[in-house]
């Protein structure tokens, strides 16, 4: 508990953990939003979420290697991963979209393994990163240091999230996606081409992950086999926030980022993930209790 005392004695380090956590939480929230979209509309839990993120990172890395600024990688990864998502939907996901959840989990699990191995072949297992060339922001007389790329990533993530909300609310396609999510059969009767909606939803998710991956490669490092961390975080966030609740996803994403940092600081890095999962169990239990109480009132 020595570490807790440090935080009490020098609260400035709490600020450091909080800011860092919130900034990177936005990137997690982005990937989680994509997962919620596919889950809500197609009833598919996409296990390959993390691999989409990593592949997006590699696209941006390739853009940077080609001599362009990695910021350009964000739209390029978005578009490239949209195409990848489309191909994967037509080749695999379309065949399992109406089957039960277990089949689609297996299918996307297969996609995830395949993508890892292909990335390993193409990009090798070496660790890669893209340098944005941005500096560091100093707060509180230099005691709190924030990498400017994290702030940029935060803004990118929020802007993309905002654009998605507008797209879902205003555009015809967005409305069709929401209609399909509510009741696919009714939407089909009313003339929505649900097959196309599914394809676009899945590709859109891949594209969102691609953009998230572009931010990840600029903030941290990527490697073909570390996608799982992003899949797990997305899953957590969606479970906590629920489907179709964007504000919840954002709040859960930011909260998760901060909670992880505090857990890592106080308990040690080895308990960072364990703490997050324990938190998930507590939240689910708490929610269950609350629902039970409501049911009692209804009765």
């Amino acid at each position: 508990m020595d570490n807790l005392q440090i935080l009490v004695a020098a609260p400035v380090f709490s600020v450091q953990l909080l800011i860092d956590g919130i900034l990177v939480g936005a990137v997690f929230a982005l990937a989680a939003y994509g997962m919620a979209l596919v889950w809500g509309v197609m009833n598919i839990i996409n296990i390959a979420q993390g691999e989409f993120v990593i592949l997006g990172g590699y696209v941006t890395w390739a853009v940077a290697q080609a001599g362009f600024h990695p910021f350009l990688g964000v739209p390029v990864s978005f578009i490239a991963l949209f195409a990848v998502g489309w191909i994967l939907y037509r080749a695999v996901v379309a065949r399992v979209v109406d089957r039960d959840l277990f089949i689609s989990i297996l299918a996307t699990f297969g996609i995830s393994i395949l993508m890892q191995q292909v990335m390993n072949q193409v990009f090798t297992a070496d660790v890669q990163t893209a340098q944005s060339g941005l500096g560091t922001l100093f707060l509180f007389e230099g005691q709190v240091t924030v990498a400017q790329i994290k702030i940029v990533a935060f803004v990118f993530a929020l802007a993309l999230g905002g654009a998605l909300v507008v797209f879902m609310r205003r555009s015809r396609l967005g409305k069709a996606i929401r209609a399909t999510a509510q009741n696919a059969r009714a939407a089909r009767i009313l003339g929505v081409d649900t097959g196309r909606v599914y394809a676009i939803t899945y590709s859109l998710n891949a594209a969102i992950c691609g953009a998230a991956g572009a931010l990840v490669v600029m903030i941290w490092v990527i490697q073909p086999f570390i996608g799982l961390a992003y899949t797990v975080r997305s899953f957590m966030i969606v479970v906590v926030a629920g489907l179709g609740n964007l504000a919840g996803v954002v709040a859960a994403g930011l909260g998760l980022g901060a909670a992880e940092n505090f857990a890592g600081f106080i308990l040690g890095a080895e308990f960072q993930t364990a703490f997050i999962f324990s938190l998930l169990v507590v939240i689910l239990l708490g929610r269950n209790l609350r629902l039970r109480r409501q049911r009692r009132v209804l009765r």
Partner: protein, 414 residues
């Protein structure tokens, strides 16, 4: 009836062949005036790059020995030949190939494979048949706590990888007139067997000097962020930060220490070369200490290759690239065999095994002397510091070309 006689005949033939094999070379595998060594090295699969370095190292040493007239055993000179198999980067295959080398090919002297996993695959087999093996590329501590008698390793084992950093910090601080017991050590290593070996070595040495370990974080396998650990480093201000998490750990540490402007007097990591931290991060990687088994500027020398620098030149001329330490230590393993066979003066495997156990020599790769578990205790790990984008050997101080820049300059002064 005919089938029965056929079967009996086959059985008899089988027994005869079996008997022949059993009665095979009771002495070592020596064809005329050539000693044949056996090796199962990865030519394909995930270790294939390092497998190639290993084979090149073995071949270069064998060629040098032959050019110099071979190995002298009991007054007669023998040439060296190496029989290779591809282990496909699969440890289980190494066990099969060890059987094959020993039983079918009659090999009695074995050179190790690349990597701790494959070496672990071979060790029990050579132990079963009491066939000595000198290996150069299996560093895991777990190879040396099983009581193996026939396994000898020329390289420094994994717990030594960063322990030298602790000694260096102690010596440098003492030279500055600081009390060594006041030094604080922070450890952030991945939660895998290799990195935990490293941690154990660092903790042992910190204890020996009476230093305090103030951070002891185990990084997760899917490591993607070190912010929490590094914030702790900023808070408790240790004098030494040790990071080991394979390539991604190295890259993340350099990146985030720079971005968060974490000031720590000494930062020591593994996998600098594999992660290409200089190429990726440029000046941000400066002053980092990187662990390596060997460096061509060290002042070791021997009668076969000359100095470490001479070896590097010979290797470069033969294969067209700078020798990585995996190649150097592989060459050293062949030299250890040459030395031991000469001292044994016989091909009797027990006598040769005892001669190996008594090895005490200097090679271009470093000093070699085995303890009772078979690991080399005479060669320390080398630490190289990144200075102006170049890896410069700075420790062990006795053999290193340059001085450590310590403490690292503050980020605000760079």
């Amino acid at each position: 009836m005919t089938s029965l006689t056929t079967r009996v005949g086959m059985l008899a033939a089988g027994l005869a062949v079996g008997g022949l094999l059993a009665a095979g070379p009771a002495m070592a595998k020596v064809e005329g005036d050539t000693i044949v060594f056996g090796a199962a090295v990865s030519f394909t699969g995930k270790y294939s790059t390092n497998g190639k370095h290993t084979k090149n190292g073995y071949d270069l040493a064998a060629k040098r020995l032959n050019d110099m007239g071979g190995i002298e055993v009991a007054g007669k000179r023998y040439n060296v030949k190496i029989q290779y198999y591809d282990d496909e980067s699969t440890p289980a295959r190494n066990a099969q190939l060890a059987e094959r080398l020993i039983n079918q090919d009659g090999i009695k002297f074995i050179l190790g494979p690349y990597g701790s996993g494959p070496t672990k695959g071979m060790a029990p087999i050579i132990e079963k048949y009491k066939i000595p093996m000198v290996e150069a590329n299996g560093a895991s501590r777990s190879l040396f706590n099983k009581g193996y008698r026939y396994l000898f390793a020329v390289l420094s084992t994994s717990e030594q990888y960063l322990a030298e950093a602790i000694n260096l910090a102690a010596k440098l601080s003492a030279a500055e007139g600081r009390r060594v017991q006041d030094l604080k050590v922070a450890i952030a290593v991945e939660n895998d067997p290799f990195s935990q070996d490293i941690r154990a070595g660092v903790i042992d040495d910190a204890k020996r000097w009476g230093m305090r370990v103030v951070i002891d974080d185990k990084l997760p396998k899917e490591l993607n962020d070190m912010t929490a650990t590094l914030t702790k480093v900023k808070a408790v201000k240790p004098d030494v930060l040790v990071v080991s998490g394979h390539s991604k750990g190295a890259a993340l540490a350099i990146r985030q220490v720079h971005e968060m402007k974490v000031d720590v007097p000494m930062l020591a990591i593994t996998h600098c070369e594999a992660a290409d931290v200089i190429g990726k991060f440029g000046a941000a990687a400066d002053y980092t200490l990187c662990a390596t088994q060997w460096d061509e500027t060290m002042s070791y020398r021997d009668g076969w290759f000359g100095s470490a620098g001479d070896y590097a030149k010979t290797f470069q001329a033969a294969y067209g690239y700078v020798p990585p330490y995996q190649a150097a230590e592989s060459s050293a393993a062949v030299l250890v065999w040459a030395d031991a066979l000469k001292r044994a003066g016989t091909f009797d495997t027990e006598a040769v095994r005892d001669a190996l156990a008594q090895t005490d020599m200097q090679t271009f790769y470093g000093n070699i002397k085995f303890d009772e578990t078979g690991k080399n205790i005479a060669k320390p790990m080398v630490l190289r510091q990144i200075q102006n984008g170049k890896l410069v050997p700075v420790a062990p101080v006795e053999f290193a070309a340059k001085k450590t820049i310590f403490p690292r300059p503050m980020w605000s002064e760079r």
